[in-house]
């Protein structure tokens, strides 16, 4: 109710430590609201200009009447809370609803143009402060003006309204310089929904712009910090939806439910063992790592060691490393009774990215403390040392997207969150930052192609797209759009041709973006055919 806004504001001023959620809407919400309104606004605006000219005299009289009406209306109904859009419309249409009958211009589709009819009466809501009026009226009458300042609430107002505060206002006379002439605020990308003018290079190969298949993923958690899909070498996709884990056989299309956690616990991460085994590690919100045999649908063991939810997992031979909200990495030897072989205080905040390099020599971890740490392996073992080799602090947001280059040892790609929006390429042998590219959008996940010298990254606002990058130039090869919400996770099929993207819009989309060139594909099959022919020949003789 609009009249309570003022009271609520007072309350919120009086409480000092509040969550920031009390603040305004996130920009994307506002944007989507605006979008819905825009078409109707523009059309109504055109008509109104006509109306106003034709009924100028009448509108003056009607103004006073309508203003009264709207006063009553706004107190009665809640959906007329003054907001920006409404103000704007209100100003332009002082007498809209009263005049159409008399207007000379016909106004077709009138109803659709006035979503909030009552607001049309008010020239400007900013000037008529309803919530203040309500507050003043509902206040006890016997209290005078001076009493307000003495109450706690009054003090809060006094603090908020700096002008009323006694004391001196001072400034340093040697001012800081203004931004350089001609400088443009580069944050525009964060605010614009327009497509980024990208240098999408035409490649000779064909990349389908639409997904090959779309699967439903109901209740998939829209949480940036989790890792909820993984595709095994034996072509089975594990997906965590809420408190359950499902297995989708990509070859046959069969779906099997692996597990459901009890109570309100949720699955926070899944990771297949290397090399096509049937073992799946599952990280849970109750800070445990569970090990499952997916052939027998049987839980093998539960491993503890954390105090926060386990949002990231990585296998290295028989070691499964887990990163959790408590900032620790625990290396579990799944063969031993005392499974926790090493615990590392890796980050000061939640760990959201964790990947072992393909050669098993380095572990990369990314956290919500904006750090990317590289951990060297302990000689003769498969877990990492407690002291990092490098700690890269160049990212300006949480580091979730992590991927090791499959063909070049020691090359790592990492992507940062909303405040960062960059993909960085690192050489962990030298500690050098080889390349940095601004993606203009939150980076949620990164994968390397095994067939092409390319990377694919999943993004959030504004386009929720997947971008394919040419390595090492880092030029855009293609953009795949279709997700209605941010792309949270990516997984590559074992044959390396298909990328699976899991979006916050509760869909899984399969993109055949790394298909082998048919011309090139022929060669191996031809030689195979030739070989079999030879074999045949040898059999005949």
């Amino acid at each position: 109710m609009s009249q309570f806004n003022y009271l609520n504001d007072l309350k919120s001023l009086a409480t000092l430590d509040g969550p920031i959620t009390r603040g305004p809407l996130q920009r994307w919400v506002k944007k989507s609201n605006n979008e819905n309104h825009n078409p109707s606004m523009s059309t109504s605006f055109k008509n109104i200009s006509n109306v106003n000219i034709s009924t100028c005299n009448q509108s003056m009289q009607k103004m006073s009447i309508s203003a009264n009406q709207s006063c009553n209306n706004s107190v009665l109904s809640s959906n007329k809370t003054p907001n920006r859009n409404d103000n704007k419309k209100g100003k332009k249409t002082p007498s809209k609803n009263r005049t159409p009958g008399r207007s000379t211009t016909p106004t077709p589709n009138k109803a659709s143009k006035t979503p909030n009819k009552a607001d049309r009466f008010i020239p400007s809501r900013t000037n008529s402060n309803y919530d203040l009026c309500h507050y003043m009226m509902s206040r006890d009458d016997d209290k005078g003006e001076d009493v307000v300042a003495q109450t706690a609430a009054g003090e809060a107002i006094g603090r908020a309204l700096s002008d009323a505060e006694p004391g001196r206002l001072l400034q340093y006379t040697c001012k800081a310089p203004a931004a350089p002439e001609g400088y443009q605020n580069r944050l525009r990308v964060v605010y614009s929904q327009a497509k980024v003018p990208s240098s999408v290079k035409n490649t000779t190969r064909y990349i389908p712009q639409a997904p090959d298949r779309i699967l439903d993923a109901p209740d998939i958690l829209d949480d940036y910090y989790l890792n909820l899909v993984d595709w095994s070498a034996s072509n089975i996709l594990a997906v965590a939806l809420g408190s359950s884990v499902y297995l989708w056989n990509a070859g046959t299309g069969q779906i099997e439910q692996l597990l459901t956690l009890e109570g309100s616990e949720t699955v926070c991460s899944v990771q297949w063992v290397q090399g096509g085994g049937s073992h799946l590690a599952v990280g849970t919100s109750s800070a445990t790592v569970e090990l499952w045999d997916c052939e027998k649908i049987k839980r093998l063991r539960v491993m503890d060691g954390h105090t926060g939810r386990v949002g990231s997992l990585a296998w290295n031979m028989y070691i499964v490393s887990s990163g959790a909200r408590d900032g620790n990495i625990v290396h579990h030897d799944v063969r031993q009774r005392d499974h926790a072989v090493a615990t590392i205080t890796a980050h000061t905040q939640e760990i959201c990215g964790l990947k072992w390099s393909p050669d098993g020599r380095h572990l990369a971890s990314g956290g919500n403390d904006n750090l990317l740490n590289i951990w060297p392996i302990v000689q003769g073992h498969h877990y990492s040392q407690p002291q990092y080799l490098y700690s890269f602090n160049q990212h300006l947001a949480a580091v979730k997207g992590l991927a090791w280059c499959p063909w070049s040892s020691g090359i790592l790609a990492s992507g940062g969150g909303t405040a960062d929006r960059t993909i960085r390429i690192w050489n962990v042998n030298t500690g050098a930052n080889l390349n940095t590219v601004d993606t203009k959008s939150q980076v949620c996940s990164i994968l390397w192609s095994t067939h092409y010298k390319e990377l694919i990254s999943g993004h959030g606002y504004a386009n929720n797209q997947l971008v394919i990058w040419k390595y090492p130039l880092m030029s855009r090869v293609a953009e795949l759009t279709g997700h209605m919400a941010r792309v949270l996770h990516l997984a590559l099929s074992p044959d390396g041709t298909t990328v699976l993207s899991a979006g916050a819009d509760e869909t899984l989309r399969l993109w055949k973006c790394f298909m082998l060139d048919p011309a090139k594909k022929k060669e191996p099959t031809d030689s195979k055919a030739a070989k079999s022919l030879l074999n045949l020949n040898s059999l005949i003789r």
């Binding site: 509040g18 001072l170 040697c174």
Partner: protein
């Protein structure tokens, strides 16, 4: 940072230093996050366990140094109640955004103060830094709802001082500023047990 911490004992001077250090990083963060100046003029630095960016522009640096040295003096003497970082449109001097840093004075650890015969606090420095880090992360997160600053901008800092505060050389009285149709968002608060810092951002609702 290390000189004021002897067995969890924070002096008034040390606390003021913590406050001013926070102000330095907070103001620089705002300048960077809001895109006021070209990002290449900033340098990353590790502080409070996170990466923060500081302006390398010599003029901005000297402005902030002078401002904060003086402010520290005032905070020690309890002369300042609030510092306002205002962001202005260069073309028409309109105030687009205002970051209020409210300073409140607290008593600290009374028993320890009696013992030491000066006002001291006993809050753990790590705890304070953690609180500051939380505020800093919130400052960075504000870009998700603050409006786009689509013009050449400049900034200024106004000090709200007590009436008995002397005006030093190179300082002058300023006019109060107001933002039309303002929206306020309060961020987290932190305290050194001697000073409590409250950060509020007000911005102009676009029409």
């Amino acid at each position: 940072m290390s000189q004021q911490q002897t067995k969890n004992c924070i002096t008034l001077r040390g606390s003021a230093q913590i406050i001013c250090e926070y102000l330095k990083f907070a103001i620089n963060s705002v300048l960077f996050q809001r895109g006021l100046y070209p990002p290449e003029t900033f340098k990353a630095e590790q502080q409070y366990g996170i990466t923060l960016l500081l302006s390398e522009d010599p003029l901005i640096k000297s402005f902030l140094t002078n401002l904060l040295t003086q402010s520290e003096e005032w905070i020690v003497n309890k002369k300042v109640t609030k510092l306002s970082l205002i962001i202005l449109n260069v073309a028409n001097k309109e105030v687009l955004e205002c970051w209020d840093f409210n300073v409140q004075y607290e008593d600290g650890d009374i028993e320890l103060s009696k013992e030491k015969k000066e006002t001291v606090g006993s809050k753990d420095l790590k705890k304070i830094q953690q609180e500051i880090r939380d505020v800093m992360l919130q400052v960075a997160a504000t870009i998700s709802y603050l409006p786009f600053l689509d013009c050449r901008c400049s900034f200024d800092v106004l000090i709200h001082a007590k009436t008995d505060c002397d005006i030093p050389e190179k300082w002058a009285e300023a006019e109060p500023v107001a933002i039309a149709n303002a929206q306020n968002v309060q961020l987290k608060t932190f305290s050194t047990s001697l000073h409590k810092m409250e950060t509020v951002v007000s911005y102009k609702l676009s029409d």
